[in-house]
Amino acid sequence: MVSSYSLLLGIGGSVLSLALCAFIFKPSRVLTEEETSLESMEEIFKDMQLDPKEEYLLIEEDPVTKKEMEALGVLDKFRTIGEDDKK
């Protein structure tokens, strides 16, 4: 029993050290919360070496994927850029 309790006490100590260190040493990372995508879709497609027209055609040909993307509200992004490219 003594050894179990001493272990438990030790765990308590470790958690306390976590709390103490978190209090003393503030995180030095920079967190930027992006509310919207900063890059335009066109740039991203270009950067990833994707052909918007082909991507949109592939979605059009695949009813399951198309339905899922429609339900998730992301199809429009592909449609806009895919159709723009067609023109």
């Binding site: 179990s4 272990l7 992006e34 994927t65």
Partner: protein
């Protein structure tokens, strides 16, 4: 309290604790799982409850480590590295929430496929157990050579097997002459926290400091997360398409059988196979992510369970790393002679208590990462510094080493951590190789020098 109740309670603790730990990116799997599992074992939890705790912890951690991977584009831990490319593609296209949902759903399916498959395969391989147990020294040595060759260091890892075994045996002989007992936990902890400890050593060294110095704080970009489903507990089968469910089920089943390969390798391989059969960036990325997270989960679980049921000796990368306390946690569990979960639980117990762990982890971590991913990430990133996490783990290592062998244990742990960590960081001799050499050292030295 009945064993069932204790198992449920410990699985709950494991699931909650590791759901939070999973959010902290870049945390080393072995360094985290080993101390906590050792604690549960040494506190006297029944073997069934230890197993439920471990399963809950593993699944919970993997479900929430998808959060930094999807929302920030940084791997939750080493097993998430192969997923980064596809996750980043979806993140850049403004769909990180979809990446997250697919990954988490795939993970849940993979876990539930792996458990029964691994139990069955473990039982089948059990008939060869006597051979494996009687030749364990030789098998560990051969496995060490194999794992060493496939580690990052390749030939240098193979070359260092004998010197490292010599070093470990010397420490063992010295500590034995002081304490009159052989130490295991202190060695384990040293190997596990090695890479973390080496960073501290680097920071203290005038010579090596420049390699880890930064001129500005690390920047993280957290992508927006749009919740687009109703209710609290989304159905994983509705989130995946039928094809994705089938792909995940198939690849998870196959990867559960290949328990001797590294989970990262299997994940990349299966992800590439599925990805190459899907056209279009959206379909390719979502299908690959679903499959990959399913495979990570299934390989991981199978690698822990199969050697446990079949042999009772750690013969897979996961059994040598994060799951090692289930095999070896003296005085409670030992792997030579075999006296661990292998002896205390029968295959049905593994299935039952494993399922308890997985179900509880799913009930907690799955809705958590689906509903609160972004808020929780912001809280962790804003308020918990890396220093605090390192402090806690170094503290836990000291605690466990002291519990095993007093001051000798602590000195041994940090000696092993310094040497093992430097070998790991500089030469790429991974902790799996070091664990294997630790197991093989007694046999190897006795064959070479008759000691």
């Amino acid at each position: 309290m009945s064993i069932l109740l204790i198992s449920i309670c410990l699985a709950l603790i494991g699931a909650i604790l590791f759901s939070l730990i999973g959010l902290i990116s870049g945390t080393d799997e072995t360094a985290i799982m080993v101390p906590f599992t050792l604690l549960v074992i040494l506190l006297g939890a029944p073997p069934a409850a230890v197993f439920a705790f471990f399963m809950a912890a593993v699944l919970a951690k993997h479900l929430t480590h998808a959060v930094p991977t999807a929302l920030m584009g940084i791997p939750g831990d080493t097993t998430a590295v192969p997923l980064i490319d596809h996750a980043s593609a979806l993140r850049r296209l403004g769909m990180p929430h979809i990446a997250l949902r697919k990954m988490v759903s795939g993970g849940v399916i993979g876990a539930f496929i792996a458990l029964p498959t691994a139990v069955l395969l473990g039982q089948f391989l059990g008939q060869f157990a006597d051979f494996f147990k009687s030749a364990s020294g030789l098998i560990f040595t051969l496995a060490a050579i194999l794992i060493a060759f496939f580690s990052k260091g390749k030939w240098v890892s193979v070359l260092m097997i004998i010197p490292l075994a010599f070093f470990i045996k010397s420490l063992d002989v010295l500590s034995f002459s002081i304490l009159d007992k052989h130490l295991t936990i202190s060695f384990f902890l040293g190997i596990a926290i090695g890479p973390m400890f080496t960073d501290i050593l680097f920071a203290l060294s005038g010579n090596a400091r420049q390699t880890i110095q930064r001129d500005r704080p690390k920047e993280y970009h957290l992508a927006p997360d749009n919740k687009s489903w109703a209710g609290f507990f989304p159905n994983p089968f509705k989130i995946l398409t039928k094809r994705q469910t089938m792909q995940t089920t198939g690849t998870s089943f196959i990867s559960s059988l290949t328990f001797v390969f590294s989970p990262v390798g299997m994940t990349s391989l299966m992800g590439e196979i599925v990805g190459s059969r899907s056209k279009g960036i959206y379909k390719k990325s979502t299908s690959s992510l679903t499959t990959m997270n399913g495979v990570t989960e299934s390989t991981y679980i199978a690698e822990a369970i199969i050697p446990l049921i079949a042999f009772g000796i750690p013969l897979s990368p996961v059994a040598l790393g994060p799951a090692s306390p289930l095999f070896n946690a003296p005085p409670v569990f030992t792997s030579d002679p075999v006296n661990n979960l292998h002896n205390y639980l029968d295959p049905l117990d593994f299935l039952l208590y494993g399922a308890i762990g997985l179900i509880i982890a799913t009930l907690i971590a799955y809705p958590f990462s689906m509903n609160y991913a972004r808020k929780a990430t912001v809280l962790v990133m804003r308020f918990i510094s890396q220093e605090a996490i390192v402090a806690m783990f170094i503290g836990l290592a000291c605690l466990l080493a002291f519990h095993e062998a007093g001051l000798v244990g602590i000195v041994l742990t940090f000696t092993m951590a310094a040497i093992g960590g430097l070998l790991n960081k500089i030469l790429g001799i991974g902790s799996g190789v070091q664990f294997m050499v630790f197991y093989a050292s007694a046999w190897l030295i006795s064959v070479l020098f008759g000691f």
